[in-house]
Symmetry: C2
Subunit: 212 residues, 2 copies
DNA sequence: TCTAAATTTAAACAATTGTTTAAAACATTT
DNA sequence: AAATGTTTTAAACAATTGTTTAAATTTAGA
């Protein structure tokens, strides 16, 4: 077993990850992956049996890595709920800046493989066990936080962070914002999103009037 | 020119729309579309020249319809900014409830066809011309509204509405919310999202402290 | 009704694509 | 160095897929 084995195997995975994320399962051709990896076409099957098997490995790894990061922050027992929100938004946005194509890839995967995910990821059922979630419910019980379905908070949290990246091509088109400025806006959001989220939890919201 | 012409042409477009939205361009096979439409395989090429041409027609129509709806509301000169927000959220969510697959389809399309869209849609450059946008800027000028980049507001607006639909398979997986309850949550958001958005515009946001 | 045009069909074509094969190149062990 | 196992390669295979063809069917107009 020479040292090269791990090298080529890793080269293929890296290339596959890139091509799959870029073009999806059907759009990615085995020859594209081989070319990107700089290897012979047959090596893909030699190391990973089939395109499908390779894809499923990449898919599961990507999803797992992603949720591991998410869950790690939300499950710390030392930090307050507010600190969790701050930390979550900060690291989440920073991660997405480095991997802006990952969320759309994951969302497409989950959509196209719902049944597979339902079977494999009992992991997901833990969400109500997260420390974050318990802190949230405790504050609701104490009446300190507005009594809304936690899913709403989750959707707003994820939506305000993820959506700009998922929709970035559209946003850049519509607003005429160039790539460079876009990242700056994302940096601004690291501070702003937590503030908005906390407002949702605490402020008693009434209708606003404005005479224009 | 018999009456059937429009019928079959329409049958193909309807089927293509469904299959393309479900599986994307590469994932959708011409034979799938023909089967779904209940027509002979060759008719697709007879009416639409090629798979690519058919896809581009569907893609452009979908995007155009979508933005037409959006722009119509945001460009009304009679309604106040607040009413625009209310109306926008309401009709947007109601539309997405009926076509939950459209946003992910559009986002994928724009991502994969950035150059095409840049050329074809000078339409998009109008966004700063929308009545909504002028009202927004006027309130900022008057100091009635916080001075943030309008893109932030746009991202939050779109994110809080669209993201739950784009991510619905993931959300259902993670939160264990069934289909029926999901639509109920979306109905709740018709009232809540506007309130949250207005808070973002008006409330002076400070840090929140909570002793846990 | 007869003719010409338009539409539909079954079959075939040609290119692409995932996969396999069998030999070659390389590394490791004895 | 010979033998053995591992990795890489070029070529071919078989299935799929977008597209075309040419004949059959239907429709519309004179």
């Amino acid at each position: 077993m020479p040292d090269k084995e791990l090298q080529t195997e890793e080269k293929i995975k890296l290339a596959a990850r890139k091509i799959f994320q870029e073009k999806g399962f059907e759009g990615a051709k085995t020859r594209d992956i081989a070319k990107e990896a700089g290897i012979n076409l047959a090596l893909m099957n030699y190391y990973f049996r089939s395109k499908k098997a390779l894809f499923e490995m990449i898919m599961m790894e990507t999803v797992q890595e992603f949720f591991q990061m998410v869950f790690q922050i939300l499950n710390k027992s030392e930090t307050s709920l507010m600190d969790k929100i701050d930390g979550f938004v900060e690291t989440y946005i920073e991660t997405l800046k480095k991997n802006p194509e990952v969320p759309l890839f994951i969302l497409s995967c989950v959509k196209s493989n719902q049944v597979e995910f339902q079977k494999k990821f009992s992991m997901f059922q833990m969400i109500s066990e997260l420390h974050f979630f318990k802190q949230f419910q405790e504050l609701v019980k104490q009446g300190k936080v507005k009594n809304i379905h936690p899913a709403h908070f989750l959707m707003n949290l994820a939506g305000m962070i993820v959506f700009p990246f998922v929709a970035s091509p559209m946003i850049k088109l519509v607003t005429q914002i160039p790539e460079s400025e876009f990242d700056l806006l994302m940096d601004q959001r690291k501070k702003m999103v937590p503030l908005w989220l906390k407002d949702m939890l605490f402020k008693t919201t009434l209708d606003h009037q404005t005479n224009e």
